[in-house]
C-alpha cells in the first residue's frame, strides 16, 4: 500500500533520514521504533508532505507521491496526527473535526450556507467513536492533555483516511490514558478497516499491537519484520534493545 524506498533528508548537513525503507500493506498495523533522534518523525513528515525528501521515492497505492504538497497527499487517503497536539485551539471540539470532514468532502469553499448544516452526523459519529461526544461544545484549547491527544487523532479520522499515520500517539499520557488510546487505535483498525503506521517509545505497546515493526537508527532502516524477527535480530539487540 505504502512504499518508501531509499529516502533521505538533510538539515544543514545533518542527515536526519539517510536511506530509509518502509513498506506497509493494507490492513496492517506497522510500528516504527528507534532511539530519540533516529529520524522517525522526519520520516513521517516526508511521507505526509510536510517535508520534501532530498532523494528517494515514496509511492502510495501504486502512485508516486514524493514531494507532493501535504493537502494533495491528504486527499489521496493519508491522514496523520502529530506528536505535539496540533489542534485548532480557538475552535470548539466539534468544529475541529468538522473542518476535516468539510475538507474531505470538498465543501470548505462554500460561502453561503451555515456550517451548522454540514456533516453533523458524520462529525458526531467520529466524536462518539473516540469518546469525546460529551465535550463537543468545549473550546479545544481548554481540553486536558489526554483529551487533546485524542482530538488530535479524531481530526485525522475526519479525512476518512485509508492510511492513518500516528506520531507517538501516547506521548505524555498517564498509563491509564495510554491503555485507553491503544485500545482506541486497535478498535479503529478493526471497525474502520484502517491501515495504521505509528511510532512509539513504549515497547510493550509496540510489541503488543503491531503486525510489523521497522527499526531505525541514525536515519537508516535497520530491519523491517514481524515482532518476533525484530526481537531476535542481533543488530537490533545491539543498537536498540541493548545487549544483555
Amino acid at each position: 500500500m505504502l512504499r518508501v524506498e531509499n529516502v533521505s533528508k538533510q538539515f544543514d548537513g545533518f542527515k536526519a533520514v539517510n536511506g530509509a525503507n518502509l513498506s506497509v500493506e493494507k490492513g496492517e498495523i506497522v510500528a516504527v521504533i528507534g532511539p530519540n533522534g533516529a529520524g522517525k518523525t522526519t520520516l513521517f513528515n516526508l511521507i505526509s508532505g510536510q517535508l520534501k525528501p532530498d532523494s528517494g521515492k515514496i509511492t502510495f497505492l501504486g502512485e508516486e507521491i514524493t514531494a507532493l504538497p501535504p493537502h494533495r497527499i491528504c486527499k489521496k487517503g493519508i491522514a496523520r496526527s502529530f506528536q505535539i497536539a496540533n489542534i485548532f485551539h480557538r475552535l470548539t471540539v466539534f468544529r475541529n473535526i468538522q473542518v476535516a470532514v468539510l475538507s474531505q468532502k470538498n465543501r470548505n469553499l462554500n460561502l453561503t450556507s451555515p456550517s451548522d448544516r454540514f456533516f453533523i452526523e458524520e462529525t458526531r459519529a467520529i466524536l462518539e467513536s473516540v469518546g469525546l461526544a460529551d465535550k463537543h461544545g468545549e473550546i479545544a484549547g481548554a481540553l486536558s492533555h489526554g483529551d487533546r491527544r485524542v482530538l488530535e487523532i479524531a481530526i485525522a479520522l475526519g479525512n476518512e483516511p485509508r492510511l492513518l499515520i500516528l506520531d507517538e500517539p501516547t506521548a505524555g499520557m498517564s498509563p491509564e490514558e495510554t491503555a485507553g488510546t491503544i485500545a482506541l487505535i486497535k478498535r479503529l483498525a478493526e471497525t474502520r478497516g484502517l491501515t495504521i503506521l505509528f511510532c512509539e517509545h513504549d515497547m510493550d505497546v509496540v510489541f503488543g499491537v503491531s503486525h510489523e515493526i521497522m527499526v531505525m537508527e541514525q536515519g537508516r532502516t535497520l530491519i523491517q519484520g514481524t515482532p518476533e524477527a525484530v526481537k531476535n535480530d542481533p543488530d537490533v539487540q545491539r543498537a536498540y534493545l541493548g545487549t544483555e
Binding site: P70, H71, F88, L111
Partner: protein, 315 residues
C-alpha cells in the same frame, strides 16, 4: 429555536430601526458622522475578515479602500460611462488589486506576508500620489459628479445604511459558512489545515479577494458621502487606524470592528475639536486595551457571557 433567533436578531433589528430614524431627529452633522462610521465600520469588518478570522498580517488594507474610491472618481470624471458602471467597477477593481497583491503575499508567512503587503500597498499609494496627470496627485479629485439620487447628507446616509446592511448580511453569511469556519481553522493552525487536505494558500487568497472587494465597496461609499478622493485614503496611517479598530472592538468576534470604528471615528471627531493631539488619547486607550482587554471590548463581553451561560453547544 424561534425564541433564540428572536433573542439574537432582536438587538440588530432595534439598531437598524434606530439607524433608520436618526436623520429625522439629529442635526445634519451627526447624520454625516454616522454615515462615516458606517463606511469605516464596513472597511474595518472587511479587514477583520483577513486579520481577525484569517490570521493574515494584512497591514496595508486601506489601499483597497482607496482603489475602490479612485476607480469611481476616475470613471465619473474622466469617462462618459453611466455612473452606475463606476459604482460597480469600484469593488471589482479593488478585488482585482487584492488578488494581484495577494498572489505575492500568500507565498510568504506571517510577518513576511505583512512586509510585502505593506510595500506593494505603498507602491500603489506612491503611484497615486505622483501621477498628477491621472489622479491629480496630492490634490486628489474633487467635485465628483455623484448623481442626485445619491447626494445630499440625508439621502447619501440612507444609501450607505442600505449598502452597509446588505454587506453586513453577506459578511455574516460568509462568517458562518464552511469557508469562514475553515478560515478560522487556518488562523489557528495552518500546518494542520494543510495536513487535513486544505489548500491553505488558495483559501487565504480567496479570503483576501473577498475582503478587498468589501473594502472597495466602502471606498465607493466614501465617494458618495464626500464627493472627493485624495491620496491619504491609501496612506498607511489609515491602514493602521482600521487595524486598531479591529483590536479595540475585538478581532476574534464578528461585530467587534463596528464598535471599534464607532469609537475611533467619534474620538477623532469630538476629541479632535478640543485638541490636535487626539492621537495621544488614542495611545493611552491602546495601552489600557493591551493590558486589560487583549481580545478587545466585544471579545471581553463574549467571554463574560460564555462564562455566565456555561459552555456553549455549538461555536
Amino acid at each position: 429555536m424561534n425564541a433564540l433567533n428572536l433573542k439574537r436578531l432582536g438587538p440588530g433589528a432595534a439598531i437598524l430601526v434606530a439607524a433608520a430614524v436618526v436623520p429625522s431627529i439629529v442635526p445634519r452633522f451627526y447624520t454625516y458622522i454616522l454615515a462615516v462610521i458606517l463606511i469605516t465600520a464596513l472597511l474595518a469588518m472587511s479587514l477583520n475578515m483577513v486579520v481577525g478570522h484569517g490570521g493574515l498580517y494584512q497591514f496595508h488594507h486601506g489601499v483597497f479602500y482607496g482603489v475602490g474610491a479612485y476607480t469611481v472618481a476616475l470613471m465619473l470624471t474622466k469617462t462618459p460611462l453611466p455612473w452606475w458602471v463606476g459604482f460597480v467597477a469600484g469593488p471589482f477593481t479593488a478585488a482585482l488589486m487584492g488578488f494581484l497583491i495577494g498572489l505575492f503575499c500568500v507565498r510568504l508567512n506571517r510577518l513576511y506576508f505583512g512586509m510585502i503587503q505593506i510595500s506593494l500597498g505603498s507602491l500603489i499609494w506612491a503611484l497615486t500620489f505622483r501621477w498628477y496627470g491621472l489622479t491629480g496627485g496630492d490634490d486628489g479629485i474633487h467635485g465628483i459628479p455623484v448623481p442626485d439620487v445619491l447626494s445630499g447628507v440625508t439621502r447619501s446616509y440612507y444609501v450607505i445604511l442600505i449598502v452597509f446592511s446588505v454587506c453586513l448580511f453577506f459578511l455574516y453569511r460568509i462568517y458562518r459558512s464552511p469557508f469562514g469556519t475553515t478560515l478560522r481553522a487556518i488562523r489557528d493552525n495552518p500546518e494542520r489545515c494543510a495536513a487535513i487536505g486544505i489548500n491553505v494558500r488558495r483559501h487565504q487568497l480567496f479570503a483576501i479577494v473577498i475582503a478587498t472587494f468589501f473594502a472597495g465597496v466602502a471606498g465607493v461609499l466614501f465617494v458618495v458621502v464626500e464627493q472627493s478622493v485624495f491620496p491619504d485614503l491609501m496612506f498607511w496611517v489609515l491602514s493602521l487606524e482600521i487595524m486598531i479598530m479591529c483590536l479595540l472592538g475585538g478581532w476574534f468576534t464578528f461585530s467587534g470592528p463596528i464598535l471599534g470604528a464607532a469609537l475611533m471615528v467619534s474620538l477623532r471627531t469630538f476629541a479632535g475639536v478640543y485638541t490636535e493631539y487626539w492621537t495621544l488619547i488614542l495611545g493611552v486607550i491602546l495601552i489600557l486595551l493591551i493590558f486589560f482587554l487583549p481580545e478587545g471590548i466585544m471579545g471581553y463581553l463574549s467571554t463574560k457571557r460564555k462564562q455566565k451561560n456555561g459552555r456553549r453547544t455549538v461555536e
